[in-house]
């Protein structure tokens, strides 16, 4: 089932990307081409096959629960667009 213009808007909202009205159709067209081609997968029977998320399937390595890094807040915040007193600044979220 092809993706609709409305769905393109909804996905864009989920991905927090704004798309200009004039570009919606082109995205709709390209996404439909991509989805039509990945739909080839549907022809394959995969009942009972365990999905593979990582190629090596090794168990996750754990480390001791100890502090291993020193505090580098100043260095990390030096690349932030705006900070104040060690805090990241964003537009007001709660009225």
């Amino acid at each position: 089932m092809p993706i609709t213009e409305k769905e393109v808007r909804e996905i864009a909202q989920l991905a927090r990307i704004s798309i200009a009205v004039k570009d919606i159709c082109s995205y709709e067209d390209q996404l439909n081409k991509i989805l039509a081609f990945v739909d080839e997968m549907k022809a394959v029977e995969t009942e009972g096959i365990t999905p593979l998320a990582y190629p090596l399937e090794e168990t996750q390595k754990l480390r001791n629960d100890k502090v291993s890094e020193k505090n580098q807040r100043e260095s990390y915040q030096s690349v932030a667009p705006t900070t104040e007193n060690g805090l990241y600044l964003v537009p007001q979220v709660i009225e």
């Binding site: 864009a12 989920l14 080839e40 990582y54 690349v79 932030a80 537009p91």
Partner: protein, 489 residues
């Protein structure tokens, strides 16, 4: 000075004192300054830093504290974080980002005393197969500047090919080391998933991404892979498997090795002349004593669909971090938090990245997850099983790296699916996590053709020796895109 044409000769020259690292570094920097405007392979060139590192390298040579690679120049793909140096990942989003830390491989190569010449151009966030999606402009193929160098590590491949650096790092999510290596006539290795640390490598699709070496010859790749490989406590997916002696095992004989030829790879999409070059290469392997047998990888045609679902899904998750708050681009005067996110991301990302973010968001969204994402992961297991079966009979799988030689810029820009189909021979080894090597195997119409060898898990050494023995006997890696490199020492 005449630039040496192999890393082995560079090491020799530095050890003998034929030239210093400062002289060598200066020669490469001059070459970049003079000729890169035509190629655009670098986003950032680190003149001062490189000369300072070279001076320090010469000092350690003279006081006896040098290691093998001390003073050897190289370039990093701009996907690797470099402390104090701009790291853009080819995106406007990170145009002003100066990394506060080094990627593990940058730290490791730096601690060997290697000299970083600069950061190479790439498709934006490594999403592309032609280097045309870079915010910093397309890279031109040194063999024919109307053609693309491949991607996403197109800057690294073009820089090695044009003689701007003897070695470069790359990253490979679906072929991004191997395909540009093939298009630019150089050698490139995607190691086994987990062989090289991903810490500080800007994430695209975390279950597929792997860093690897790019250079003129397999022998050069072995020099660079040794310090790159190995377990890193900062990357929990990096492997503790033992590291082999990559340079020491290069001369392992081909006699008695079995190479598998997957019948599905020689299909209609493959250019006939490229096929002819690969057939010649297969004969060469047989002449060297290898047995070549036909094998079957039945899931081959499903690898691109599965790859584009999984890689888009993972990128839509990974790139959610670019929100205009902690680093990177931020839109002007946001009216609220929603506006901050949406305008920042719309301004900061290019078309191809947005397309993949939308695709990834769609396949992960409620109601579609099972049909796309879960299905792709099930197919991923079938693809892995195909290879596991194949490796019970063969030492390596042989194929072309790409179905064509480098195409002209602009050819596939309007049709993303056409561009994606060019990755048909490379994506399967990322999905399965297998090591794969691309080496030059000949020419079609003056443009280089790449040959791919896929190996079993953690058998980089075997792959490199297969490639090295082929190069020793054919010399295809000694064809140069620039006439003045022929006369090199």
């Amino acid at each position: 000075m005449n630039l040496p044409n192999s890393v082995t000769k560079i090491i020799q020259g530095l050890e003998d004192g034929t030239f210093s690292s400062q002289e060598l570094t200066e020669a490469y920097l001059n070459r970049i300054d003079n000729l890169d405007p035509e190629i655009n392979s670098f986003i950032t060139v680190c003149h001062e830093r490189a000369l300072l590192d070279a001076k320090n390298a010469d000092k350690s040579r003279s006081n006896g504290s040098a290691s093998k690679l001390t003073g050897v120049p190289y370039a990093n793909k701009d996907i690797f974080c470099t402390k104090g140096v701009r790291t853009t990942s080819g995106s406007k989003m990170l145009d002003t980002f100066i990394s506060p830390y080094d990627a593990t491989i940058v730290e490791r190569l730096g601690s060997q005393g290697m000299v970083m010449l600069g950061k190479t151009n790439m498709d934006e966030f490594a999403m592309g197969s032609s280097n045309e999606t870079s915010f910093y402009g397309q890279v031109n193929n040194p063999w024919n500047t109307n053609c693309v160098p491949g991607g996403s590590s197109g800057g690294s491949a073009a820089a090695v090919s044009a003689g701007f650096t003897p070695l470069a790092t790359g990253s490979d999510t679906g072929g991004s080391i191997r395909q540009p290596a093939a298009f630019c006539g150089i050698s490139g290795l995607k190691p086994t998933y987990g062989r090289v640390s991903r810490y500080g490598m800007i994430a695209f699709a975390s279950s597929l991404d792997q860093a690897g070496p790019m250079g003129r010859s397999v022998e050069d790749l072995a020099h660079l892979l040794s310090p790159m490989a190995g377990y890193d406590p900062k990357d929990s997916t990096s492997s503790m498997d033992k590291i082999e002696d990559y340079s020491g095992n290069l001369e392992d004989a081909l006699k008695g090795k079995t190479i598998g030829l997957p019948k599905e790879y020689f299909s209609t999409s493959l250019d006939r002349q490229v096929e002819g070059v690969i057939e010649e290469a297969i004969k060469e392997f047989e002449k060297l004593g290898a047995n070549v047998v036909e094998i079957s990888l039945p899931t081959t045609s499903l690898s691109i669909p599965a790859y584009y679902v999984i890689s888009s899904a993972e990128c839509s998750s990974n790139l959610s971090r670019y929100d205009g708050v902690r680093y990177g681009h931020r839109c002007e005067l946001p009216i609220d938090i929603e506006d901050l996110y949406k305008r920042t991301r719309s301004e900061g990302f290019g078309e191809e990245v947005k397309r993949r973010l939308l695709t990834g968001t769609y396949v992960l969204s409620s109601g579609y997850y099972d049909a796309y994402y879960r299905k792709a992961q099930q197919i991923r297991r079938l693809i892995k099983n195909d290879f596991t079966n194949a490796f019970t009979q063969v030492d390596a799988v042989i194929s072309p790296t790409a179905p064509t030689t480098a195409f002209e810029a602009g050819t596939h820009l309007d049709n993303p699916v056409e561009m994606y189909l060019g990755d048909c021979f490379t994506v399967a080894s990322n999905l399965a996590g297998l090591p794969a090597l691309s080496i030059p195997a000949g020419f079609v119409g003056g443009m280089p053709v790449g040959l791919q060898l896929i190996g079993n898990y953690f058998q980089e050494s075997k792959l490199l020796s297969l490639g090295h023995m082929f190069q020793k006997s054919t010399g295809w890696h000694q064809h140069f895109s620039r006439d003045d490199l022929k006369g090199a020492q």
